[in-house]
Subunit: 671 residues, 2 copies
Amino acid sequence: MSENRINVTALSEQLLGPYAEIRKASRARAANPQLQRDPLLGMDEHRERVLGQLGILVEQEAVQRAFPKEFGGFDDHGGSLAAFEELVAADPSLQIKAGVQWGLFAGAILHLGSEEHHAKWLPDAMSLKTPGAFAMTEIGHGSDVASVATTAIYDEATEEFVIHTPFKAAWKDYLGNAALHGKAATVFAQLITKGVNHGVHCFYVPIRDEDGNFLDGVGGEDDGLKGGLNGIDNGRLHFTNVRVPRTNLLNRYGNVDADGTYSSPIPSPGRRFFTMLGTLVQGRVSLDGAATNASKIALQIAVTYGNQRRQFNSTSDTEETTLLDYQRHQRRLITRLARTYASSFAHDGLLDKFDAVFSGRADSDDDRQDLETLAAALKPLSTWDALDTIQECREACGGAGFIAKNRFTQLYADLDVYVTFEGDNNVLLQLVGKRLLTDYAAEFRKLDTGAMALYAAKQAGTTALHRSGLRSVGQAFADISDERKSANFFKDPENQRALLADRINAKVASVANALRAAGKDKAKGAAAFNENQDLLISAARDHGQLLRWEAFTAAIEKTGDPATTEVLTWLRDVFALSLIEDDLGWYLANGLLSMQRARTLSGYINRLLARLRPHAQDLVDAFGYTQDHLRADISSGGEAERQDEAMEYFRKLRASDNAPISEKSLQKAKR
Amino acid sequence: MSENRINVTALSEQLLGPYAEIRKASRARAANPQLQRDPLLGMDEHRERVLGQLGILVEQEAVQRAFPKEFGGFDDHGGSLAAFEELVAADPSLQIKAGVQWGLFAGAILHLGSEEHHAKWLPDAMSLKTPGAFAMTEIGHGSDVASVATTAIYDEATEEFVIHTPFKAAWKDYLGNAALHGKAATVFAQLITKGVNHGVHCFYVPIRDEDGNFLDGVGGEDDGLKGGLNGIDNGRLHFTNVRVPRTNLLNRYGNVDADGTYSSPIPSPGRRFFTMLGTLVQGRVSLDGAATNASKIALQIAVTYGNQRRQFNSTSDTEETTLLDYQRHQRRLITRLARTYASSFAHDGLLDKFDAVFSGRADSDDDRQDLETLAAALKPLSTWDALDTIQECREACGGAGFIAKNRFTQLYADLDVYVTFEGDNNVLLQLVGKRLLTDYAAEFRKLDTGAMALYAAKQAGTTALHRSGLRSVGQAFADISDERKSANFFKDPENQRALLADRINAKVASVANALRAAGKDKAKGAAAFNENQDLLISAARDHGQLLRWEAFTAAIEKTGDPATTEVLTWLRDVFALSLIEDDLGWYLANGLLSMQRARTLSGYINRLLARLRPHAQDLVDAFGYTQDHLRADISSGGEAERQDEAMEYFRKLRASDNAPISEKSLQKAKR
C-alpha cells in the first residue's frame, strides 16, 4: 500500500494554511521549555511563570504583529492570530494571558481609541510595562453586555467621567490580569452625560500604582483557583466614584465634548454597540484556531498510541490486536480526526475573512456581519469538539490517558472554559440562528413562488424540500436497498451538500413559521421564540457544519497529489456522513432520506473508517507537531519499546529447552 | 400550583432506597469538613490527608460493615457499598482510596482467601495497620487480565512461590496505595507448578517494611500527578524473584499442595478465572452508585443556580429572564435530571442483586452472571453520564461554573477515570453484548417459528419486529399527523418499553446473523465480530437503558402521592423519549416509528420539559444533599442576594427625583 500513501509533507504544509511561516515560527517558540507549562507549579508560581513568559514574548518581538507600523508592528491581523493560536501547544494559559494583554486590553485601545490614545497607551501595553485587564463582563451580566450596570457619568465641572459600580452584581468578573498584575483596565460602562444614557462605552482606567496597590476607589478580589488556566490571575474589580479625565473615553465610536455634548459617527445606539463589540471578534477567531490545535495535539498523541498499543488476542493465539484495528477504536478516533480536518480548513477561511475585514481589504458592513456570523458559528463547534476530542482521546488511552504527563487531562481542564468565554457557545449559536432567520425572511420577501412553495409545503406538514435538487422520499424509495447505489448516493458531494444545507433551510423555515404565527404581540413572540430556541440553535450548529464541509471540500480541490486527494475525500465523506448519521432521525422524519438508504449509512461509514485506518498515522503526522509539542510519555515510542521487550522474552522462551513455562502453558496463559 | 407540588420529603426517602439509614449516616459523615477535600493542598499533602481520613473512618467504625461478624463486621454487603458511595460527596479520592483498601485489597483476602487467611490478614487490613495495594492491572495488560504476564512459579524445594515480573509491560500499574502507603499487595499472576500454567491466581505479597522501604526484590514507581483523584498514591510495582510461602496463595478457588499438585473446586480454567474475578464486582457496583451521586450533586447546584440567575430581558423591559425558563436550559438540565433519576432507581436494583448474591440469599451461577451483566451494563452508563452531566452543569453556570469553589471542575476531574477503572466502559459493554448474543442464540435454539420468523424477517432485509406488539410502519402511517394521538402513543409505557426493547433485539439479531454468516472459521468470525463491534456495543448500551427504564417505572408504582406520581411519570417519559429521540434514525430506518410520529417527538419532549420546569427545584432538593455536601458558592443563595440588591437599587433610582440616571436612560440601558 506504500504507493497509495498520502504525501505527508505536502499535506502538512497545506494544513498550516495561509500563514504557514508564521505558524512554524510560533511552533518553534512553543517548543521552547521556557514557554511551556511546568506541571509541578502551584497556582501562585504558575501565574508568575506565565507573566514572565509574556516578557519573553516581548523580548522575542513576538507580540506586535497586529499593531500599526509606527509602533513596530506589521498591521498583520490574520498573521498575528495565527501566531497566538500556536502558543496553545506551550501552555493554554500563555495563549490566553497573551490574548488578554495584546488582544483584548491593547486591542481595545487600538480599535476603540483615537490616534492620541494609541500614542499615549499602546507602547506600554505592547511592552507589558502596563499589564491590563479587559473589564467588560459583570457578575450579574455575563453574556448580556448591553445590560452592564457600571456607570460612567460625565461631570462637566471637572471634565471627568465618574466610573462607579452601583451594586455587587455590577462588579467586573473573571478578568485576566485583574487579580494581581493589571495596572490599568479598559472598562465598559454606561456612558451618561446630561442625564442621558448613550449606552455602553469603553474607558481607560488606571487601577494599580507601581507597587501593585489599588488606586483610590478601586477594589477587587481574586477569583482564586479555577478548573484550568491557572497561569492567569483572573479576578474581580469594582469602582467607587473613580474619576478619569474626559479624554480617557476611547472615543472612536462615541465622543463627549468638554461641555458634555455627546456625538457619534454611528447614530443608531444599537448599531454603535455592535460595531464596538465587533472590533473584539478576534478573540473568538483565535479561540477557534487554538481549540482546533488542541484537538490536533490530542489526536496525534492518541492515534500514535492506538497504533502501537495492543490488547486482547481475538484473531491470533500469539499476537495481540493493535487498538486501532478495533472498529470501535476507529469509530472513536477517526471520526474525530475527520472533524478536526474540517475544523482546520474552516478556520483558515475564517482567518482569511478576519484579515480582509481588519486590514480594510473588504470591510463593508456586510463583510463585518459575515465575519461575526462565521466566528459565532465556528467557535462553538471547535471549542466543544476540542473537549469531546480530548476526552475521547483520554479514554481511548485508558489509565495511561489519566496520568498527567500524558497531557490530555490538563489540556481538557484548560480548554474547558473556551466554550464559555469570548461568547458563550449557546448564546453565540443563538446569534447565528437569528442571522439565519433574518436571511430567511429577506429571501422570503424577495423571492418568487419558489420560496412560497417551500413555505406552503411546510404549512401542509410535508417538509421535503425541492430547491437543492434532492430526490424526494418517493423517488428514494424506488431504489430498493441496493448497497452500492446507496454508497454512490452518499459519496456524491452534491448530495452531501444538499443534505447538509436543506436541514438548515427547513429548520429555519419552521422557526420562522412559528414566529410568524405568533404575530406582533411581544409576549407571544418571545414565547414562540423560546419554544423554538432549541431548534434554532440546532439550525445554527448545522450552519457551522455546512461551512466546515464547504471548506473541507474546497481544500481537497487544492490538493494536487492523487493519493492524498483520495484519502482526504474519504475523510471528508466520513465527516459529512457522520453528521448525517447523527441527525438521521431528522432526515428520515422529513423525507430527505429513504429507510433503505438510512439503513446502509452506518455500515458505509464503517467501511470508510476501515479504509482510512492504514492512513491514520499519516493523517495525524501531517498536523506537524513534534514530541516537543506533544510531550506525552505515550507518544514517545515507549509503548513500542515495551512490546518489543515482551516479544523478545517470549521468543527466547519458546527457543529455550528448560524454560520455566512450557510452550503449552504459554499458549494457555495467552488464551 | 402549590397543591400539585411533589412531596419532597417522601420522594427524598424513596431516592435514598433500601439502605436509607446507612446512607444518611454516611452523608452525615461526609458533611464533616475533616473528611472533605481541602482544595488548597498540593498532591503530596492531599495524599497524606486522605490517608489520615481513612484512619478517621476506622475510628468511626465506618469500614467493617461488609466483613464477617467475627471481625466486628455485619456481613452486610449491600449496606457497605451504600455507605462508601456516599463518601463521594466528601472527596472522591476518599471514596476510591477507601475502596482500594477495604473493597479491593481486603476484599481479595475476604473473597479469594481461606478462613486462615482471614484470621491472619483481615484484622490489619481492616484497621489500616496494613495499607494494601490491589496488584492486578499491568502496563501492557489493562483490560485483558487473563493475559497478565507476572508469573508465580511454585518451588517445591522451599515450598514457596516465586513472584516475578519478566519485562516492563508486566509491571503492575495504576495501583492505589502502591506509590507510598502500601505495606502489602494482593498480586495477580500466572500460577505455574510442575511446568503447567493454571492461569491467573491471587497472592498475598508483603511489599514494604515498617519504615516504608521496599522489601528485597520489590520495586516501583510513583504514577505522579493524575487528572484527578490526587489524594490517592497510585503507582507501579514490579517483582524480581520475590519469594512468598506457599500458603500466601489465596486459595479459595485453586490450591497447590506442598508437593506442587494443583487442585481446584472449579475444573474449567475459564470458569475459575471468571469466578475469581466475579468476586470483585463490588467495585463496579459502587462506582455506579458514586457516579450517580456525583450527577445528583452537580444537578442540585446547577438547577438551584439556574432557578435564581437571570440573563437578558426577552419578554420584559425591566425584568430579566431566569435561566431555567429558557427552553435550551431546560433541555440541558432537565433531560439530565430525568436520566439521573433513572440511574438512581436502577442502582437500587443493582445493589439489591449484589446483596442477594453476596449474602448467599440467591447466589446460583445464573444469579452471579446476571449480577455481572447488570453491573457491566449500568456502570458504563452512569459513569459516562456523570461526566456529561457535570460538564453540562459547569457550562450551564457559565464563568461561575469554571471557578473551582463551585465544585464542578474538580468533580469532573475526579470522576473522569471512573469510566476507565474497574472495567473500561467499552470493554464492559462488549461483555454485555456478548451475553446478549448468548441469550439470543439460546432463545433462537429453543424457540419455535416465532424466532424463526424474526430471523427470516431479518434475512429479507426488513427489520420491523412483531414480538412486542408494536404497530408496524404501515399501521403507523395510517394515523395521519395527529399530534394528540402521537403524544398518547409516546406516553404509553407499553409503547416506550417496546421501543426500548425492540431495538436491542433487532441489533443483537443483526450481529448474530452476521456472525452466523461468517461461519466457523476463526479469522472470518473475528473479522465479522469486529465489523459489528460498534453495533453490538450500541445494543449493550440500549440494554442498560432498558434496565433503567424498568427500574424507573417500577419506582413510580411505589410512589403513593398522586402529585409525585404524576411529575415522576413526566420525568420518566422525558427519560424514555429522549433515548428514542437520540436514536430516532434507527427507529425510522427500521420501521418502528412513522415519519409523522417522529416529527412530533421533539415538540412533545419540549412540552414535557416546560411542564416539569416548575418542579425542577423540588426534584433536585429531593436528592437530599445540603450545602455541607454541595459546598458551591453559587448554591449558597448569594446570587439571589445580589439580585435583590440590584433590584432595590433600581427601585430607589426610579423613586428618586434627582437620580443621576433618568428613568428613560435606565430603560434604554436595559434595552
